[in-house]
Subunit: 328 residues, 2 copies
């Protein structure tokens, strides 16, 4: 389990340090070895990246209090997770990530120690995926606010990008990676029972998307793909709607996922996590035939619309940013 | 003069509208005609852009209360300005902008009307530069916080990117665009005298960077370039430091800029605005010979380090995000 920041933050705050000094401290922390595609790194008006035919671009943001709590996640966790969820979006297009830019908007009372920890977490996530940090932006926020954001770039393979809209009737629906673990970990944190299943709490704090599986799926002929950020049902519905089909999931195929969570959260919550749990960042894809190794078939693409579970409509579960959160 | 939002905001807030419904309202507002380089637009995990050899990427953020005030700037102004300052960074590399992604992190009590106005302003700025909106992200923020952010992509011309580090002793220092107008406009707003010079207030609300001048300068052999975001002295120092040279500015050459502001803010403030005023987003570049048409020579590149005015050291003026703002 990753240690959350338990000691009180110490040292100077952003208000006490010159902006250039902050950048001088954190940029080296975030910078790993540049790839040979990086022609100009951080420090100029913009970075310059050597690119080939098709570049994917995506952006994702985390807000303190909504996407993380400082008593549950260390700054390293936050940086690591922010990278992971952005790179998952790149992978879900069937692309290989090539670079990220990082934005930090922070209350001036934020400690330099927190910011350095965040930069370290970004570096860990980026290095793990061999993705260079190309630059970023630093701004002060109103009291109490910390917002972190990444825009990720990637390169599409020769197989071309895999969209949400290509699922065809008769395709198999498959998932690569776990289901419901992040949500179960969050539930344990909420209940003050993190020690009951440290592996689930880690899944929440530091999701580990199967990045290389995205381009592999593209090469294997995946017809549609996305990463599971808002829950299986909600994200599955997105594929169904974009493709003009119905996605039918198999309760039997998902049983293994629920069974893995049940000892820690109980049966009902386990199924809620599997079907509605967000921030998992596993990949969901549709294939005309058998998916590549590592993918599990969990359903099929049918005529009609919407999402069903063993043929029956299931309530929309998942995360709505401005609504009430998880909705049963 | 652009009308600031004077009527009280009305209609539903973000908390009262489903996130997908918000996106469904604002994405069409932001979307102009796609260029033929846009292979996949908003709505999937990532957008896909056709790219050639070298892609520039830059990101810039605005925070309500720090970068704008709702009683001084309409949401259209905010969106327009956010686009302008990002595209200025692209131009300052000698590149042509090819796409942007937009992030909005907003207090749930933010009205849909404000968000639509912001999206409209983004669209105005993007269409004016023929730049497609490729996608974005939408998140809720703590009470009182609104943060907007853009990441911009661009394509470097055959002349290659123009960095800050290439200024050579003997080069001429030139500026393209105005100096100090945005800061003077802000000063008038602060003093409650916006009506005294609506053109300066507009320069603050809606900067209009000379975007095409960036690639032109690159083709004309500019050795260094940046956009003036934090003030002439502060940004000039950045070129000097990156290039290992001294930049000497000519008070006589800058007199025309100060003279244009003096009737509205007085002589001392006019010079403060010219030398230290941020958010102007004009381009500063160095050239081995005569700069192209439209550029004004305002100084020269000399041996040594730092920035001087008629050979004498001048205090660092400009904006520090976590410090006390403009510093004399």
């Amino acid at each position: 389990m990753t240690a959350a920041a338990s000691a009180p933050p110490q040292g100077p705050t952003l208000a006490e340090v010159d902006e250039d000094a902050v950048l001088a401290r954190i940029l080296p922390l975030m910078r790993g070895d540049d790839t040979e595609e990086v022609l100009v790194g951080p420090g100029d008006d913009a970075a310059v990246l050597r690119t080939r035919g098709q570049t994917v671009v995506t952006t994702d943001t985390m807000v303190r209090g909504r996407d993380w709590r400082d008593d549950w996640s260390s700054p390293q966790d936050v940086g690591f997770k922010l990278v992971a969820q952005n790179l998952a979006d790149v992978a879900a297009m069937g692309a290989v990530p090539t670079g990220i830019v990082v934005t930090l908007v922070a209350d001036p009372v934020t400690t330099l120690e927190w910011v350095e920890g965040f930069a370290d977490g970004v570096a860990q996530g980026a290095r793990g995926a061999a993705v260079p940090v190309l630059g970023g932006d630093l701004s002060s926020a109103p009291a109490g606010t910390v917002v972190v954001s990444i825009t990720a770039l990637g390169e599409v393979t020769q197989a071309g990008p895999v969209l949400r809209s290509g699922a065809c009737v008769g395709n198999r629906v498959a998932v690569r990676g776990s289901l419901g673990r992040s949500a179960a970990g969050l539930l344990l944190l909420t209940d003050g029972r993190a020690e009951a299943a440290p592996h689930l709490v880690t899944a929440h704090r530091r999701p580990d998307p199967p990045l290389s599986a995205g381009p592999e799926a593209a090469r294997a002929g995946a017809t549609a793909m996305l990463d599971l950020s808002d829950g299986l049902v909600r994200d599955g519905l997105r594929v169904a709607r974009a493709s003009g089909v119905r996605i039918d999931l198999s309760r039997a195929a998902l049983g293994v996922d629920a069974d893995a969570l049940e000892p820690y959260v109980g049966e009902d919550a386990a199924w809620e996590c599997v079907l509605g749990g967000g921030e998992e960042h596993s990949l969901l894809a549709t294939f005309p035939g058998q998916p590549p190794a590592g993918w599990r078939v969990i359903g099929s693409v049918c005529r009609g619309d919407g999402l069903t579970l063993d043929g029956e409509t299931t309530p929309v579960r998942g995360w709505d940013h401005f609504g009430r959160g998880a909705r049963a």
